[in-house]
């Protein structure tokens, strides 16, 4: 019972401090970008704190990673069809000097998916029912807390960092070591997806060029750097485990998440005229939208 009282005290503390933090953030300059969901939450909290002068932070246009643009000097799309959204995020072009190698690894990864990962995920689904798999996904997601929390702080998203902390606190206790996403289910506090690649992107680093890693899949020079940075924040890095166990954990995580998202890969692949280009573009667009959040 003490735990519950502690929790109440904790919430009251949040209640007192959060509006202050949120307000401080909304007055920050445009460098600080509040994620969409976060700013919605911020708006609502601010309204409750009877400060109706909240305003959504202005969206900053994404500068498309260069490369290819000078190839098309007659690109007149924007003049012909003026559209605020189009100029913001319409073109996510990335240079691809490694295309031949990337394409080879795309074929390799595709085979890996259809010959190994998909059957493994299917067999695994047969053994583990969906709620168990969901629980395992939540568990791994909870372990990703340090990465998200630190990157929230690095991006000066203090309220998001607060929500992440709350989530970790609630899920690690009430959520039974992270297996149940209590924070979302009972309290509607959703995960904030931040990583070092996004942090560097927000700091103004471009994607550089596209890299399609074997096994790991689509990435960019920027995100590869980000992945390396985040590696040191992962609990697995700090655990005194044999390589085999770490690889096993990583494998379980991958198979588990594949079993839950089965079908997405096939959908994009089947709808594409050139799957390689489709995945490259989708990856860069996805990452750009994440940085913008």
């Amino acid at each position: 019972m003490k735990k519950f009282r502690l929790l109440i005290v904790f919430y009251i503390t949040c209640l007192v401090f959060c509006p202050g933090l949120l307000f401080a953030e909304s007055t920050n300059d445009t460098l600080v970008q509040v994620p969409e969901s976060d700013s919605q939450i911020a708006d609502k909290v601010l309204k409750q704190a009877s400060q109706p002068d909240s305003q959504s932070v202005e969206e900053q246009p994404v500068t498309p990673a260069n490369g290819g643009l000078d190839e098309f000097p007659d690109y007149s799309e924007e003049d012909e069809y003026p559209d605020y959204s189009e100029s913001d995020e319409g073109s996510a072009i990335i240079s691809d000097p490694l295309e031949p190698i990337n394409r080879a690894f795309f074929v390799f990864n595709d085979k890996l998916y259809f010959w190994f990962l998909k059957p493994a995920a299917r067999g695994y689904s047969a053994v583990a029912p969906a709620p168990v798999r969901k629980g395992i996904k939540n568990f791994f997601s909870n372990l990703g807390f340090p990465v998200r929390f630190v990157n929230c702080l690095l991006q000066a998203k203090f309220s998001a960092a607060g929500y992440e902390f709350e989530r970790f606190y609630i899920n690690s206790t009430l959520g039974l070591a992270g297996f149940i996403d209590m924070a979302d289910r009972e309290f509607g506090v959703k995960a904030v997806d931040e990583d070092f690649g996004q942090t560097l992107g927000l700091y103004g680093l471009g994607h550089g060029f596209y890299i399609n890693w074997p096994v790991l899949g689509p990435s960019s020079a920027l995100d590869t750097l980000g992945l390396a940075g985040d590696y040191f924040l992962e609990p697995a890095y700090h655990m005194d485990l044999e390589f085999e166990y770490k690889a096993g954990l990583k494998g379980l995580k991958t198979i588990n998440s594949t079993s839950l998202t089965s079908g997405d890969y096939e959908t994009l692949k089947n709808s594409a005229l050139d799957p390689y280009v489709a995945f490259r573009d989708a990856y860069i667009q996805y990452r750009q939208s994440k940085i913008k959040e």
């Binding site: 019972m1 519950f4 929790l7 109440i8 919430y11 009251i12 949040c14 209640l15 959060c18 969409e36 919605q40 939450i41 609502k44 909290v45 409750q48 190839e71 098309f72 007659d74 690109y75 007149s76 799309e77 012909e80 069809y81 559209d83 605020y84 959204s85 189009e86 995020e89 319409g90 073109s91 996510a92 072009i93 969906a130 969901k134 009972e186 309290f187 509607g188 839950l260 998202t261 079908g263 959908t267 089947n270 709808s271 594409a272 005229l273 050139d274 280009v277 489709a278 490259r280 573009d281 989708a282 667009q285 996805y286 750009q288 939208s289 994440k290």
Partner: protein, 201 residues
């Protein structure tokens, strides 16, 4: 105190932090909502579940989508700078093929979401352009953010792009079409579109 009353207390305290989802409504949202309601009613219609009804069911979904999607705008944006170089008949042919390709994808996705639901989150209007943010919640609880880009034409809102998880459908095709058109020709693009549609899923 019992565990249960404690839980309620926590929930009560948390109410100040928990935010009721505000139902956004507007012309653009209504437009999307009408289509998605129609599609969900078609998917969940028991009389259309039989295999021999498949063609009819797909046609019904296609008609529903047609009611709110501006295919010419989709095509124009997907071809971008290559659009103006095409003749009228080439444009017509392209629109028809591109439409079939997108519909197929859309249909496949809608099949996955039987038993799920759509939540409308936000609507932003800026003059003649608008964004409707929604999320698809599958029966297993997986959320997929889907944003619709709309433009006002002849007094009605028309969808000209769909963003799934932040990825624009039109931009994604634009990069593929551009790649093909630079390396090859428009005829080759048409040929590949035809092959893709013929091949089916």
């Amino acid at each position: 105190m019992s565990l249960k009353s404690n839980r309620w207390l926590i929930l009560f305290v948390f109410l100040f932090l928990a935010f009721p989802s505000v139902v956004m409504a507007g012309e653009a949202t209504d437009r999307i909502k009408a289509v998605s309601d129609k599609i969900f009613s078609i998917i969940s219609d028991q009389t259309l579940q039989a295999p021999e009804m498949k063609v009819k069911k797909e046609q019904m979904i296609m008609d529903a989508v047609d009611g709110a999607f501006n295919w010419e705008e989709f095509s124009r944006r997907a071809l971008a700078k290559h659009w103006s170089k095409r003749t009228e008949s080439e444009k017509k042919e392209f629109i028809s093929l591109f439409k079939q390709l997108i519909k197929r994808t859309y249909m496949e996705k809608s099949g996955q979401y039987s038993g799920g639901k759509v939540e409308f989150l936000e609507e932003k209007i800026d003059g003649e352009y608008g964004v409707v943010k929604s999320q698809l919640v599958s029966s297993t609880g997986t959320r997929t953010p889907v944003d619709y880009r709309l433009m006002k034409k002849d007094g009605a809102w028309w969808v000209y792009d769909v963003y799934i998880e932040g990825v624009s459908l039109v931009s994604n095709y634009r990069s593929q079409f551009n790649d093909i058109l630079i390396k090859s020709s428009f005829d080759d693009l048409i040929k590949r579109l035809n092959e893709k549609i013929q091949k089916g899923v």
